[in-house]
């Protein structure tokens, strides 16, 4: 892997809300920091005192055990105190407003609030009003920046670069915050992105984001360095997006045959959880080219880096 010499200090923000607004240098700084944190997770005592005395709150309005757990492990490995709040969407409708909830939490003086919400822009609403840092752990259809960052880290580790790659993202782009963050991330780092799926799942104006659009999975993966399959939300069946799972998997499910069209060392990625046999064949998910579990491992490292950098990156010695 190339080292860029980018310093952690080139990321100085109060909040991490999306990848759209980050520069190449900022993204690189987060990835560099994540690499240095990865080693901690391989120790027998997986803990450093870097964020001792800091309080991190996870505020999840949408259930997501894996993302929340990943953030929590990241915070704990840096010795931060963590509090997890899960708020059922149904109670949020009747109960206090998002702003009231957040202001109450802030009154307890947390350093970072990590929020997952089913509405786009909810983290931005908090970030505008709170003094503490806000991390977007996924907002509506908008962005999931730490997912985008862990995907970038995974590709960087495997390919040694993030520029001049062909990245195919396949599936329900319209409803995917993972796709949006990855489009911004890979474009900013200098790679080419092609998205594919049925037109019902490809919103208009995608070319204006600088991506190529295809309605054919084989066409999209031809010559690709990275194939990223999106999770199909099964409840979309019968909502006019596609007729049946059977037909969807026939035309947009990745199988072994497709891999022959891609570059020989092409990576297969998936943000999880998998619908085996729908968007991805089991033998591909478990195959040699799959980096799906590395993505999960890198999730912790990237989130450690984000929490560390948002805290000001003060105890610089600990990161090394």
């Amino acid at each position: 892997m190339q080292t860029t010499g980018a310093k952690a200090t080139s990321f100085r923000r109060k909040d991490l809300l999306g990848l759209a607004e980050l520069s190449r240098e900022e993204i690189q700084a987060i990835l560099d920091t994540a690499v240095s944190f990865k080693e901690i997770s391989t120790r027998s005592i997986k803990k450093v005192p870097t964020l001792r005395g800091k309080t991190v709150i996870t505020l999840f309005y949408e259930p997501s055990t894996r993302t929340r757990t990943s953030f929590e492990i990241a915070a704990k490995r840096l010795s931060a105190d963590t509090v997890n709040l899960a708020i059922a969407a149904s109670s949020a409708v009747k109960g206090e407003t998002l702003i009231d909830t957040a202001k109450n939490l802030e009154a307890m003086r947390p350093d970072i609030i990590i929020i997952r919400h089913s509405f786009s822009g909810a983290p931005h609403l908090l970030a505008q009003r709170l003094h503490c840092s806000v991390v977007n752990a996924g907002d509506g259809l908008h962005e999931h920046p730490t997912q985008g960052l862990l995907d970038l880290l995974t590709v960087w580790e495997a390919k040694g670069r993030l520029h001049d790659l062909k990245v195919a993202i396949v599936g329900d782009i319209a409803h995917s915050r993972v796709a949006r963050s990855n489009i911004h991330g890979f474009r900013t780092m200098g790679s080419q992105v092609i998205v594919a799926g049925p037109q019902t799942m490809l919103p208009p104006y995608l070319p204006d984001l600088g991506v190529e659009v295809s309605y054919s999975l084989p066409e999209a993966v031809r010559g690709a360095d990275v194939i990223m399959m999106l999770r199909l939300q099964l409840e979309r069946q019968g909502q006019m997006f596609f007729p049946t799972l059977r037909e969807y998997s026939r035309f947009f499910g990745l199988n072994q045959g497709h891999l022959a069209l891609a570059r020989p060392e092409a990576l297969v990625m998936h943000p999880g959880p998998l619908n085996r046999g729908v968007e991805i064949a089991p033998e591909v998910a478990d195959g040699l080219q799959s980096v799906i579990l590395q993505q999960v491992t890198n999730g912790v490292a990237v989130r450690m880096a984000v929490l560390y950098l948002l805290s000001g990156g003060e105890q610089s010695g600990a990161a090394a």
Partner: protein
């Protein structure tokens, strides 16, 4: 009591007049319109309007006053004050109150409250269907007798085409115009802003321009079928302008309005998840703005109406998806519209016509003229006055304007209804 307004430049497109004149008002009516200095001041209250423009009172044919039912957002009294401060002498108020104005009782209640407020004229618009639920016709005959001037299910577009046909036919029976909020809700689905690059980037569900255009086309074909008077509310897309232009050229009885936000802002205003830029129909693109301006210039769009839609922080300081649709507009409409004159898109006479005579004609209400004998509903405008929009200064109860902080030139200096001064700007009349 006689009131002499002297020294102003009188602009009255209804009589092709643009000259300095003095106006004499006796018992709330225009008694004389004469060369400056002709009438002696003795025994009369005199107001010097030198340097100011004197026009027929502005009429906003699309206002939401929120009373009855949501008085925390606006009342007939506060809405009336906001209207007067914005230069309006009359407003037509939409029926989506609580309860919906689908009966003469509600219309009479509104008129009674308006009389108590002693403000601008208030013209109730009655619901097309009972409860605006889109199923059963409301009582148009009763409503007309009670004082309703038009019919609309604004905010709750009529989905059933057969009901729309019957509504147009039944409305024609009582010579009432139907004001259509034209929107195909199945295409809007759960969209919250214009479908375009910005919605894609923000991850907000989009409302395609076609959601409006499909419905505008349907309503126009039904107007052709029934011969009824159709008025299309808040036109926001280039396609709608084109459809209306074609319909007018074919002689269909259709008129249309747009709102200042549709020629002053684009969907870019939503960036940052700004809920004050959320309304229905949504802000569109640069190309749509250009088409709206062209539609105003060539007469395809007859009126500028505010779609003043007050909401409190309870509805606006929330997640974008949850935020209510609507922006207030009574106190910014004139300033924003004058920009069209400054840009050379409309003449001043054309603009004033779209803000007074045209809405009066469509609604069949008095106004839009300074003819001797007409009620003295007058708007005095300071065309040169630079000002900065400050929502804290608004008379409206609500603050949901996307124009806060905007620099504008020109605003109402004085507003008179029935010869009574309802509003005067102290900057102009400090003497």
């Amino acid at each position: 009591m006689e009131l002499l307004l002297k020294g102003g430049l009188v602009l009255d497109p209804s009589q092709d007049l643009e000259e300095r004149r003095d106006l004499l008002i006796i018992d709330g009516r225009l008694a004389a319109l004469v060369a400056p200095g002709t009438l002696p001041p003795e025994g009369r209250q005199v107001v010097d309007l030198t340097g100011l423009l004197v026009c027929p009172g502005l009429i906003d044919m699309h206002t939401h006053l929120r009373e009855p039912g949501q008085e925390y957002k606006e009342t007939i009294a506060t809405g009336s004050q906001a209207a007067a401060a914005g230069g309006f002498t009359a407003v037509a108020c939409m029926p989506n109150t609580l309860p919906v104005n689908d009966s003469a009782t509600v219309t009479r209640y509104i008129l009674e409250k308006a009389a108590q407020a002693q403000g601008v004229r208030v013209y109730p618009v009655a619901a097309i269907s009972q409860g605006s639920e889109g199923a059963i016709l409301a009582e148009y005959g009763d409503q007309k007798e009670a004082g309703a001037v038009a019919l609309s299910d604004d905010g709750k577009p009529v989905a059933n085409s057969q009901l729309m046909r019957r509504a147009l036919e039944y409305a024609r029976t009582f010579d009432l115009p139907v004001i259509s909020h034209s929107e195909d809700l199945s295409l809007t689905s759960n969209g919250v802003m214009h479908e375009g690059l910005v919605s894609l980037q923000l991850g907000l569900k989009g409302i395609p321009a076609a959601a409006e255009e499909v419905a505008v086309f349907r309503d126009i074909e039904l107007a052709r079928l029934t011969g009824a008077r159709l008025h299309i509310a808040h036109v926001s897309t280039a396609g709608s302008v084109q459809i209306i232009r074609r319909a007018k050229s074919q002689g269909i009885k259709v008129t249309a309005e747009t709102a200042p936000h549709y020629f002053s802002l684009t969907h870019e205003a939503v960036r940052g998840f700004n809920t004050n830029a959320k309304m229905s129909p949504p802000l569109r693109t640069e190309a749509d703005v250009a088409a709206i301006k062209a539609g105003l210039a060539d007469g395809t769009l007859d009126c500028i109406a505010t779609d003043h839609a007050p909401h409190s922080v309870l509805e606006k300081e929330v997640e974008f998806d949850r935020a209510a649709n609507g922006v207030i507009g009574l106190e910014t409409a004139l300033g924003l519209s004058l920009a069209l004159v400054q840009e050379g898109i409309l003449t001043l006479a054309q603009l004033i016509t779209k803000l007074s005579a045209n809405p009066a004609r469509i609604l069949g209400v008095p106004g839009g003229t300074l003819q001797v004998g007409a009620p003295a509903d007058i708007t005095v405008i300071d065309l040169q006055r630079p000002w900065i929009v400050d929502v804290q200064q608004f008379k409206s109860k609500s603050r949901n304007s996307p124009f806060h902080g905007r620099n504008l030139t020109g605003r109402a200096a004085m507003t008179l209804v029935d010869g009574k001064i309802l509003y005067r700007d102290n900057e102009n009349f400090s003497r």
